[in-house]
């Protein structure tokens, strides 16, 4: 009787696990199936490297959007990663644990704010500020980067804290016993020991930034344009799909699916670079 229960549980868990993987596979297959034929028909070079996006004239070049996606994500990293990692270090090393236990869930609440609310704040507060102080239309690469940078904070902070706290206390005690100051201990021992976790937190944040759509549509201005400065308006790959999906038919629709394929590939490439980086660090240690 006990044995049957044991086997049953194993099977149920297995089916559940496989269903998650198969859903991922199904989504990937669907997007590839809809988008790949278009890429072959239109020509990968034309599609990826041309900057002419005029669906009504059957011109589908997504180069500006690839560039925009990369810049927006990098911008979010520049804003969010230092803030997040510094915040995590401060909360885990300098602040008493009891206070950290109150502040950390509060920061995690940031993740519960819907992205449309971030976008709204961006449109109402951030964009006018940028327009007044720096010029340009306000809805820009800079606005998108700042909003996304804030949006990835909870991911970066909470995973970084977890990995910093996982560093054995004896490491810190050893360093302090050798006469190192708190900061010396942090940057020579704690950060080194928790590096992979911190990098993982940044990568997860990066994943959120590149996939974010709603907030970006609202604050980035959405012009199909290779940005020359952070004040230029841009359209990311995700925004392109979401903006035009409801209208698109025929070739245009396939082109949007092909945009999805490119997005999928970009994310796979970014993630593999990141995981290779993590593995290298770990093996060096």
């Amino acid at each position: 009787m006990k044995l049957i229960g044991e086997k049953g549980v194993t099977k149920v868990l297995m089916i559940t696990a496989f269903s998650a993987i198969s859903i991922l596979l199904l989504i990937a297959l669907f997007i590839i199936n809809e988008g790949l034929p278009f890429i072959f028909k239109y020509g990968a070079g034309n599609f990826l490297l041309s900057s002419d996006w005029q669906p009504h004239l059957n011109k589908f070049g997504i180069y500006p959007m690839i560039v925009a996606s990369i810049w927006v994500t990098l911008g979010a990293m520049i804003v969010g990663a230092p803030l997040g990692v510094a915040g995590a270090l401060f909360l885990s090393e300098y602040v008493p644990r009891t206070i950290m236990r109150i502040v950390k869930p509060t920061i995690e609440l940031l993740a519960a704010i819907p992205s449309v609310v971030y976008g709204f704040i961006g449109v109402m507060v951030l964009a006018p500020l940028i327009r007044k102080n720096f010029g340009g239309p306000g809805l820009s690469l800079l606005a998108a980067s700042i909003i996304l940078g804030v949006m990835i904070l909870p991911t970066v902070i909470s995973i970084s804290i977890d990995s910093i706290l996982a560093v054995p206390q004896s490491y810190r005690e050893g360093s302090l016993a050798l006469g190192a100051t708190t900061w010396q201990t942090i940057h020579m021992v704690t950060i080194k020991a928790s590096k992979s976790g911190i990098i993982a937190s940044i990568i997860l944040g990066l994943g959120r930034a590149i996939g974010e759509t709603m907030a970006v549509i609202m604050v980035a201005g959405n012009s199909v344009n290779i940005p020359h400065s952070p004040l230029d308006s841009v359209r990311t790959l995700t925004a392109n799909i979401a903006l035009e999906m409801s209208y698109a038919t025929g070739m245009h629709r396939q082109a949007l699916f092909a945009t999805g394929v490119v997005l999928l590939i970009v994310i796979i490439i970014l993630n593999s670079i990141a995981s290779v980086a993590i593995r290298k660090r770990i093996s060096k240690r």
Binding site: Q54, P55, H56, V123, M124, A127, P128, R131, P137, G138, L139, I217, M218, G221, N222, S223, V224, N225, D232, S233, R235, L243, E244, S246, Y247, A248, T249, H252
Partner: protein, 264 residues
């Protein structure tokens, strides 16, 4: 406590689902143009109060979706706001139920009150980039447009003609967000449905003609597009009744009250 709450919830769900299933009801679905969607919803609501045996569902999606779903049968009535209907809508029975002006709008802080069609074209094409070139202050122009496929955009481009939108124009995905963007940016220019004008933005004269109901009805204001209802096959049964209702005096008055213009 929880059990009570739970059973109350179930009872509520049952009541709702029973009351939702009327017998012998005809159901109509409208889909398409987001410019006409709020009007269609209001008309459907009024129509259903006098004809309780009909259920009308209104969906958005844009003009292209309206044509597509009328063709495929996903909706009995497609809505489209285009100057000229594309090839794939030729087989459908099209009825003009309303007209809508496209207003060229700027921020109220902007001193400009009139632009010619040529100036509008040059601004959207990126040939004119500073307000001083058209008689305004020395400030760069921020062009705001709609996404490709929007009925408002294609009407605007067809009427103004020869528009190749400049690369760094901002793109917003609805009439409402265009309005917000223009209301927030003193140097911007955009266009939106006449029905959605309000005090936060200023509609410009085009070639000296005001964007008002009178001027649109008289045909002086040139940025006007018809709103079509598209039906596969002939108009008959409940579909015909509903379209007749929209074209009736009561229906046309509803349309007029909220800023669209009657068909005739």
């Amino acid at each position: 406590m929880f059990r009570k709450l739970f059973s109350a919830l179930i009872a509520m769900a049952v009541i709702i689902s029973i009351s939702g299933c009327g017998k012998g009801k005809t159901s109509l679905t409208l889909a398409g143009s987001t410019a006409f969607q709020p009007f269609a919803e209001k008309l459907a609501e009024k129509y259903m109060t006098t004809n309780p045996n009909v259920t009308i569902t209104v969906q958005g999606g844009g003009s292209a979706v309206g044509i597509q779903s009328a063709n495929s049968g996903a909706a009995q009535i497609g809505m489209a706001d285009l100057v000229t209907l594309p090839e794939d809508a030729k087989a459908l029975t099209a009825t003009v139920v309303a007209k809508d002006g496209v207003a060229i709008v700027v921020n109220p802080a902007n001193k400009i009150i009139n632009l010619t069609t040529d100036q509008i074209r040059d601004i959207f094409n990126g040939k004119i980039t500073n307000w001083k070139e058209v008689g305004g202050e020395n400030a760069p122009i921020t062009v705001v447009s709609r996404e490709a496929g929007s009925g408002t955009r294609s009407s605007f481009e067809q009427i103004v003609t020869n528009i190749t939108l400049k690369k760094d124009a901002l793109i917003q995905d609805s009439n409402g967000t265009i309005r917000e963007t223009v209301a927030n940016d003193a140097n911007s220019i955009g266009y939106l449905s006449h029905g959605l004008l309000n005090e936060k933005i200023k509609a410009l004269k085009v070639d000296g003609q005001d964007c008002t109901v009178e001027s649109i009805v008289s045909g002086n204001y040139k940025l006007v597009r018809p709103i079509f209802l598209l039906v596969k096959g002939n108009l008959e049964g409940e579909i015909k009744n509903f379209i007749d209702y929209i074209l009736s005096e009561e229906g046309q008055n509803t349309i007029k009250k909220d800023g669209l213009l009657p068909a005739k």
